[in-house]
C-alpha cells in the first residue's frame, strides 16, 4: 500500500472514531447523572424482627422420640422447597435428626446418661459468629449478614466449588448433585427453588424474620426451641443460657456457633 493512501485511511479512521466518541461519552455521562436520581430502596417491613446476632436454644430434654423432630423438619422442608432425594449421596438437609455422639463427637464417652443416649438431637447450620465457610467462599456467595449475623447463601452467585462444604465443621451444607425440582412434593412459590450445582443450607428463616415471623422450626416446636437476640440481655435465649448449662457443637474450634443445646 502506498503511504499516502495509508495516511488517508488513518485519517478517516481517526475522524470516525472522534465522531462516535462524543455520543458514547455523552451516553456515559447521562448514565452517571441518572444514578444520582432516586435509587431503588428496599423498605424494611415494620413488623420485621431484628437482632444483633440471632441465636437458638434447643432444649434437648423436651425431645423424646423421632415424632418430636419430624414436624420441625417437615415444616422447614415444605417452606424452603427442600427436595426429598432417595439417593443418600445426593441428600439435601437443612435441619435433621442425629445422635448425641454424631452431633457432639469428641464429647461422647463410652458411658452416657440414658436420656442423652436415646434423645434425638437436631442439628442445622450454627450461623457461627466466626464462620469458616464465609472465609472459604471465593465469590462471597455465602456471607454473614452484618445486620443480624445470619449466614446466608446467594444461590445465583454460587459457582458450586464446594469449598464451603469442606470448611464447615458441622456438615451443615448440602450440594445439589442433580436438579432438585422434580423431587419437591409441593413447591412453595414464596421461596426460591434451587438449580443443580449450587450449595444450600439453613438460613434461620431470614425470609420469615423479615415479615415478623419466627423460624418455622421454632414456631412448630411448641417451646422446644427458643429463638432470639444473643446480644440482648433481656432476650429469651439469654435468659435460658443464663439459667441453664448449655453446650455448643465443637466449641473448641472457635467458630462461635449460635445454636445452644440444653442437655
Amino acid at each position: 500500500m502506498d503511504s499516502s493512501r495509508r495516511h488517508v485511511l488513518q485519517l478517516l479512521g481517526l475522524s470516525s472514531l472522534a465522531l462516535t466518541a462524543r455520543p458514547v461519552l455523552n451516553a456515559f455521562a447521562k448514565e452517571a447523572e441518572h444514578t444520582e436520581e432516586p435509587k431503588a430502596v428496599i423498605k424494611p417491613n415494620k413488623k420485621a424482627l431484628t437482632a444483633k446476632q440471632w441465636a437458638m436454644v434447643i432444649d434437648t430434654r423436651k425431645f423424646e422420640s423421632a415424632d418430636d423432630v419430624e414436624p420441625l423438619v417437615e415444616a422447614c422442608d415444605t417452606i424452603h422447597n427442600v427436595p426429598h432425594l432417595k439417593n443418600k449421596r445426593h441428600e439435601i438437609k437443612w435441619i435433621w435428626e442425629t445422635h448425641y455422639h454424631n452431633a457432639f463427637p469428641g464429647k461422647a464417652g463410652q458411658f452416657l446418661s440414658e436420656a442423652v443416649e436415646h434423645t434425638p438431637f437436631i442439628v442445622m447450620c450454627n450461623h457461627c459468629e466466626n464462620p469458616p465457610c464465609v472465609r472459604a467462599c471465593p465469590t462471597k456467595a455465602t456471607f454473614k449478614r452484618e445486620s443480624d449475623g445470619i449466614v446466608l447463601m446467594d444461590f445465583h452467585r454460587c459457582i458450586g466449588c464446594r469449598f464451603c462444604m469442606a470448611a464447615c465443621p458441622f456438615g451443615a451444607r448440602s450440594f445439589n448433585y442433580r436438579d432438585p425440582r422434580p423431587f419437591i412434593k409441593e413447591t412453595n412459590p414464596k421461596f426460591p427453588t434451587r438449580m443443580k450445582g449450587v450449595v444450600e443450607k439453613c438460613n434461620f428463616c431470614a425470609e420469615r424474620l423479615a415479615e415478623g415471623q419466627l423460624p418455622a422450626c421454632v414456631e412448630v416446636s411448641e417451646g422446644k426451641l427458643t429463638f432470639g437476640d444473643l446480644y440482648d440481655p433481656e432476650s429469651e435465649v439469654r435468659e435460658l443460657i443464663r439459667t441453664h448449662y448449655t453446650i455448643r457443637r465443637k466449641q473448641v474450634l472457635g467458630t462461635e456457633p449460635s445454636v445452644y443445646y440444653i442437655v
Binding site: H101, P132, T139, G160, R178
Partner: protein, 385 residues
C-alpha cells in the same frame, strides 16, 4: 516454531490420535455431567471433593516439580540442565492446564467461573490459588517460549526474561503451598490440619515431577535424535531420591504426632486409610501399595548401582510416580473427608463416568505436553544438524 508440532511421523500422529480419542470420550461424559449435574460422580454430601480435586492437587505438584530443573540451571549455573530446562517448563505448562481443567470440571456451575474475578474474596484461599496457578502458567509460557525461540535463532534470550525466570522459582513453591493451604486451614478437618501439609506436598511434588521428567527424557531419547543426556538424567534421579526420602520422612512425622498424641480426630482418618474404620476400608490396599512403591522407589534411587542403571531407574520412577499419585491423588482428599464431621463413615468411591472424565483431562494434558515436547525436541534436533 509452532509448525514443528504438526510435522511428525506416523507414530507421532498415531499417539496424538489415541489421546484425542480419550479426550473425546471424556468430553462426551462431561457433557452428560453438565446435563445431569455432579450426581454422576461418586461424590456425596459427606465427601464433597473427590477424584477431580485429588488429581488437581497431584498435578499442581507435578507443575511445581518443573522448577527442579529450572532452579539448578538459572540459580546455581548448573550447565548440564540447560539442555532440559525447557522440558521442565513445558511440563509445568501442561500440568497447570490439567489443573485448571480439573477445577473447571469439578464446578457445579462452571459457566459462573468468572464470579471469582467479578466478586473476588481476598479471604478465600481458592481465590489466591486461582491467581498463583494462572500466574505460573503465564510465567512458564512466556519464559519457555522465548528461551526456546532464542535458542532456535541461535541468540541469547532477552535480558528482560531474567527477572521473570527468577520470579518463577519462588512462584513454583507458592502454587503448591497455596494449594496445601486450601486444606490445612480448615477447622474440623483433622487429617489436613497440620503445618507440615505444604512441605509434604512440596516434597512429593519434587519427587513426582522430576520422576515424570526422567521418564519423558528416556522416551525422547528413544523416539528422537535428541539425547537429554545421561548426566542430566542422573542428576534428576538424585533430586527424586532426596525428595521421595523427605516425603516419606514427613509422612512418618505425621504418623508419630497423630498416634503418639492419640487424638481421635486426627487418628481416625489415617486409621480409615490404612486399616479401615467401622468396617470400611476400600483404600487400605491402595495406601499400602503406595507405601510399598515409595519405599522400593527409595531403595532403587538412593542406591547408586540401581540408580545408574537406566532401566531400573525407569522402573523406580514409575513406582514413585504411582506411589505419590495414590498417596495424594487418591488418599489425601477422600481420607480427609472420612470420617465426616459428624463422625460417620460414608465411603467415597469414584464412579466410572468420573474416572473417564478424569482420564480425558489427563489425555488432554498429555496432548499438550506431547505437542510442546515435539516443538522443543524439534528445535534441539535442528541445532544438532
Amino acid at each position: 516454531m509452532l509448525e514443528l508440532a504438526i510435522k511428525g511421523g506416523k507414530k507421532y500422529y498415531g499417539w496424538m490420535t489415541f489421546l484425542m480419542v480419550i479426550v473425546g470420550v471424556g468430553f462426551l461424559f462431561y457433557l452428560k455431567q453438565l446435563d445431569f449435574g455432579l450426581g454422576i460422580t461418586g461424590l456425596s454430601r459427606d465427601t464433597s471433593w473427590g477424584f477431580y480435586i485429588a488429581n488437581f492437587t497431584f498435578l499442581v505438584g507435578v507443575a511445581a516439580g518443573g522448577v527442579m530443573v529450572v532452579l539448578p540451571y538459572y540459580l546455581h549455573d548448573y550447565k548440564a540442565f540447560g539442555r532440559v530446562t525447557i522440558l521442565g517448563e513445558f511440563l509445568a505448562i501442561a500440568s497447570v492446564i490439567m489443573c485448571v481443567t480439573f477445577i473447571l470440571v469439578d464446578l457445579g456451575q462452571p459457566m459462573r467461573i468468572f464470579n471469582v474475578f467479578i466478586y473476588p474474596s481476598l479471604r478465600s484461599v481458592l481465590f489466591w490459588d486461582t491467581i498463583v496457578l494462572n500466574g505460573y502458567l503465564f510465567l512458564n509460557i512466556i519464559i519457555g517460549w522465548n528461551v526456546l525461540e532464542a535458542e532456535h535463532n541461535n541468540i541469547h534470550y532477552q535480558a528482560w526474561l531474567k527477572p521473570l525466570i527468577y520470579l518463577s522459582i519462588p512462584w513454583a513453591v507458592s502454587i503448591h503451598t497455596v494449594t496445601a493451604y486450601l486444606y490445612c486451614g480448615l477447622p474440623g478437618r483433622g487429617f489436613w490440619m497440620t503445618a507440615i501439609l505444604a512441605p509434604r506436598f512440596l516434597s512429593s511434588a519434587f519427587a513426582a515431577g522430576p520422576a515424570l521428567l526422567i521418564l519423558c527424557c528416556l522416551i525422547i531419547r528413544r523416539v528422537s535424535s535428541f539425547d537429554p543426556g545421561r548426566e542430566q538424567i542422573q542428576s534428576l534421579a538424585k533430586i527424586v531420591a532426596y525428595a521421595i526420602c523427605v516425603n516419606v520422612f514427613f509422612f512418618l512425622c505425621e504418623v508419630f504426632v497423630v498416634f503418639y498424641s492419640n487424638i481421635p480426630e486426627h487418628m481416625d482418618h489415617i486409621k480409615y486409610l490404612f486399616i479401615g474404620l467401622h468396617g470400611h476400608g476400600a483404600y487400605v490396599p491402595w495406601m499400602w501399595t503406595s507405601m510399598a512403591f515409595m519405599l522400593i522407589g527409595i531403595i532403587l534411587t538412593v542406591n547408586p548401582i540401581t540408580r545408574k542403571n537406566e532401566g531400573v531407574l525407569a522402573v523406580a520412577c514409575v513406582l514413585i510416580f504411582l506411589g505419590t499419585w495414590i498417596d495424594k491423588g487418591l488418599g489425601m482428599i477422600a481420607g480427609g473427608f472420612t470420617p465426616s464431621p459428624l463422625h460417620e463413615v460414608n465411603e467415597y468411591i469414584p464412579s466410572l463416568p468420573e474416572i473417564v472424565i478424569a482420564l480425558g483431562v489427563w489425555a488432554m494434558g498429555f496432548l499438550v505436553l506431547t505437542a510442546l515436547f515435539k516443538i522443543a525436541v524439534g528445535v534441539k534436533e535442528e541445532l544438532r544438524d
